[in-house]
């Protein structure tokens, strides 16, 4: 009886895991059907690097699958990062939260453009160590001061500079402040994709 119960419990756990995977794959299939872009599905096979200097993930597709450096990587929620180093059968993706990540972006509601940069927080901010401060994954700078930025304003890639394709959802504005110079404003942005739970992603091949 106890053995049967243990076996049933094990089966339930397995079915739960399969249901979660099924839902995840359905979501990805739905995204691929909805998208007009040429998407390549990849699995995330590693997180971080051996030094800790960069915020990266490693994906399961590389040059043999037509992946090239600089291609956008998206998840069901939105933009995740861009391919950085491409090997034959795997690639390193620089996440949007890394200070090295910079891209031109646009606020959907107003159409005003800005420069998105990951992280960008100093070790010491607002009188306390930023490690103990609320996280600020990335921010948008050089936004025209003539347009008002509202909380939950959608931020997408602008397509300028030919680095990333136009219209990929990046995240939502959380807070806007005027730059000390008074010439432009900047905004904190919360990512649309769940960067802490990346299992499967797409590389935008165009």
């Amino acid at each position: 009886m106890a053995q049967e119960l243990a076996a049933a419990c094990e089966e339930i756990r397995l079915l739960k895991a399969l249901r979660q995977e099924n839902e995840e794959l359905r979501g990805m299939l739905d995204l691929k059907k909805r998208s007009r872009r040429n998407l390549l599905a990849c699995e995330v096979i590693g997180r971080g690097d051996a030094t800790g200097w960069w915020r990266t993930v490693t994906i399961s597709k590389g040059a043999s699958d037509a992946v090239r450096p600089g291609m956008a990587v998206i998840a069901a929620g939105g933009l995740v990062g861009r391919t950085w180093e491409v090997a034959e059968s795997s690639s390193i993706v620089l996440l949007i939260t890394d200070p090295m990540f910079k891209a031109s972006c646009r606020f959907s509601r107003t159409g005003t453009v800005g420069i998105l940069q990951g992280g960008g927080v100093s070790a010491w901010e607002s009188g306390r160590m930023s490690a103990f401060a609320p996280p600020r994954p990335f921010h948008v700078e050089y936004v025209s001061k003539d347009y008002r930025i509202l909380p939950r304003d959608e931020v997408v890639t602008s397509g300028l500079g030919d680095v990333l394709p136009e219209g990929l959802l990046i995240g939502y504005a959380t807070k806007a402040t005027m730059d000390p110079s008074g010439l432009f404003q900047k905004a904190d942005v919360a990512p649309a994709a769940d960067l802490y739970d990346l299992g499967r992603v797409f590389v935008v091949l165009e």
Binding site: T51, W53, W54, A123
Partner: protein
Amino acid sequence: MQSGGRSRRGAAEVVWIVMLISLLVAAAFQGAVPECAVLGHAKAPALLGIAAYYALGTDGHTALFAGLAAGTAVDVMSPSPLGYAALCYMAGCWIIGRFRGLIRTDSVSAVAVAGAVAAFVADALHFVLLARSGLSEIGIWRGLWHATGSAALGAVVTPVACAAVGALDMLVGNVRRDAEEMGDAV
């Protein structure tokens, strides 16, 4: 070559095999253990700990080779350009080798301090190299925070790495305790 009441005896090939096995295990550990956000996203420098063991107990050439091999492994396992971490780890090993006479290798705290200093030097130098080549834009304070975090983790990891490789060396006969040697002589 003396190392804290131990002397090196084994065949050269076995010394290299032990070094290779230690570096492979340390590489797997360093790659698998997540970075520590509170310590500036620093990673536990297990590979440098292995290199530090050789810097503390062998001649300069072996120590520099261990630093080169450990650093190259780090370069391969990260987007860092090949040779950057290798150069930094060699610098860390050189620092330890330079002050080897002052470090009591049988004292855990002395080994921890040596590991912390080597990790700080290697990490700070790596940051300078990356920043100068435009591969890091995290700012000097965050870079220093990362190096300090690496030093703190180095202080913990290095004594453990030294004890583990020392035990392995002893197991295969590369190193013998001086007391055993004296017994043999009698």
